[in-house]
């Protein structure tokens, strides 16, 4: 049974229009992201707690092991006063986090959540998703500038450096993968992997690893949380934010992580394979994405923060050249994905 077909039938709207609204708003879009964020932040805290021999969130919903803690925190933050400091540039201060989150949400129109579950299909959807995700640093820099705070300003500078550094590698690994499949369309990429029964992770592990590491960098995950830099610059560009605006700017990182891990699932983990039905396929995609995000948040309890210059030199002098290796691997291996 296809819920989209049923909806379009009963509303009398064309199939594609229902899909174009449902995908970004429900799944894999905002509603699904809410669930993911609630779960992953809880999991992040719980995993860190267990590694650190603590209990972690517990008392909000004891039976669920404190799973509703994030919801409780979210409610509290939602009702918190939004403080706009005197010296800030009001409009850019208020609008940039909202705009940044909106921009990231646009990616949900492109990335499929399962077979046939997407807003638009385009032969360049991979590139478009990348472009959308990498638009946000500009808005983060605006946030840092508008905050009128030295810590935010330094954080904005770091964001500029980090985004340039990370995105080069991110793009290179994506292009290597696209070259391997001979396509930039998520659906075709997944189908190519299903046809040959070789997931991209096996075919080109170099590109997969690079993508994962670069994704950690552009989403401010440890060991690359330079922009947040709590111990130096106190959340960097987000220092002055409170209430919902703070929640939005924090959700920004998780939204980017979610989108990028969805992309990883499609490009390197064969998307909805081994299922072809929309429901089971969607579950497969969702589960793979969550698993990847769990790995990403687990790293929080293993690493500290790397230094700025070390990150830059690691990416430019080690990982980016490695991306060229990924291209070579793709060139060698692409015949297995030939239609």
């Amino acid at each position: 049974m296809d819920p989209i077909a049923w909806l379009s039938g009963s509303l009398g709207v064309p199939y594609w229009a229902v899909r174009a609204v449902a995908a970004p708003l429900v799944y894999p879009g905002l509603a699904a992201f809410m669930v993911v964020a609630l779960f992953i932040i809880w999991a992040e805290r719980k995993i860190a707690a267990r590694v650190q021999m603590r209990v972690g969130p517990l008392y909000v919903s004891r039976r669920l092991g404190g799973a509703l803690q994030v919801l409780a925190d979210g409610v509290r933050i939602a009702f918190q006063e939004i403080i706009i400091p005197v010296g800030v540039e009001k409009w850019s201060f208020v609008l940039s986090p909202i705009l940044a989150f909106t921009v990231v949400s646009l990616a949900f129109t492109m990335v499929p959540g399962g077979p046939g579950i997407y807003g638009f299909r385009s032969s360049l959807s991979l590139l478009a998703t990348y472009a959308i995700v990498t638009l946000t640093p500009i808005l983060v820099i605006v946030m840092g500038w508008a905050s009128n705070n030295k810590f935010s300003y330094i954080g904005a500078g770091r964001e500029a450096l980090v985004s340039i550094t990370g995105e080069a590698t991110l793009l290179a690994s994506l292009l290597a993968a696209a070259m391997m499949y001979g396509s930039m369309d998520f659906v075709e990429i997944v189908e190519a992997q299903m046809r040959s029964h070789v997931p991209g992770l096996v075919a080109n592990p170099v590109a997969a690893l690079l993508f994962f590491i670069a994704a950690l960098l552009v989403t401010d995950r440890l060991p690359f949380d330079l922009v947040l830099g709590e111990q130096e610059i106190v959340q960097g560009p987000y220092t002055e934010y409170t209430g919902l605006l703070f929640a939005l700017s924090m959700a920004l990182g998780y939204a980017k992580l979610y989108v990028l891990m969805l992309v990883f699932t499609h490009v390197f983990l064969a998307g909805w394979a081994p299922f072809t039905s929309p429901l089971l396929g969607s579950i497969a995609v969702f589960a793979k994405t969550l698993l990847l995000m769990l790995v990403a948040v687990f790293l929080r309890s293993v690493y500290g923060r790397m230094r700025l210059d070390q990150v830059a030199s690691m990416f430019w002098s080690k990982l980016f050249p490695l991306a060229l290796v990924a291209f070579v691997v793709s060139a060698l291996i692409h015949p297995i994905y030939a239609p």
Partner: protein, 402 residues
Amino acid sequence: MTRLLLPGMEGRVLGERGGLRVVELYIGAQHPASGHMRLIVYLDGDMIVRVDPDIGYVHRTVEKLAETREYVRVISLVERMTIIDACNVTLPYVEAVERLLGVEAPPRARYLRTILCEINRVSSHLYGLGLGGIFLNHSTMYMWAFGDREVFVHLASLLTGSRLTHTYPVFGGVRRDLPQSFRDEFEKAKRYMLRRLREYDKVFFNNPVIRGRLEGVGVLPREKAVALGATGPNLRASGVRYDARMTGYAAYRDLGFEPVVGREGDALERVWVRLREIEASLELVERALRELPDGPFIDERYTRAVPPAVRHWLEKGRLKLPGGYVRLKTRPGEALGRGEMGRGEITYYLVSDGGMKPYRLRVVTPSARNVVLFDALARGHTLMDLPAVYGSIDYFPPEADR
């Protein structure tokens, strides 16, 4: 040329100082990684050109207050400078007063003092390691060190009845005898801690990310360390074989104490010295427990005057003090107390005019001596290295401010 003035520029404007265009960054006193102090950092780009530690936020006039209290009441006052290292901070004071009183602690008391001092040192180092970890945003090291410190806090409370402010050494001895369960519990704690140190090595010390943050950062050459008067693990990490315990106070002479000495003097070496000192301290406590002499835990002179009705406490290993203990009079003169705390050497200079209260008590704490290192070590590094430097010198503001 007109200056470009964008709206709201004042927050980001660059300052001019000493001919350099610098950003003045005020880190603290409300900052997640400043402690009870403020660091005024001058940045040229991302490079630190100067650090001014602004101390004194937790100054409690300990030296002056000491002049207003009887000797025994000063013990728990000086303890407040570093409650996480309570035995080490009070012992040199107690020994200085003992010298003026002309008493000496019996051997068993000296050993018990050593045992508690070393347990305090382990927990103090773990505290420093934990903070050093979170300064690099390594939350696991932070939580692990603080969790494992709890083991040693537990051991200390078994011995003294108090988790942190033990007020354990008193003039002429200590306040409690070794409880029966202690040896057994310590044995287990030692096995546990040695295992955990291997895990620290894997997750923190050998972790490539952490290595990258600490290695070669804040190098303190040997000569400079001596010239600046750095002390404690920071000094030993630079290759200076100096430790106040080498003077052999308490039971250190009998135990054949050997300091841990590093070589390179960078942040990693300082962390390494602390990790190895934890091992050495465990070793020392074990030796002290093995060689613990029998006998009283407080000088006969004081137990003689204890009223018979409460003497049974002494047999049970609990101190009972005679009434005259509050009004102890020392001979006029001066005495020096030195001891090695977790963070370095502490010195007490005590002047007595023959009364019941100190005439003057001068205290130099290790953190007060180490505060110069902020500027000396951080210069030329990036802003991101500042927490690494701070964490590696294990600076404790309440101790420095007194």
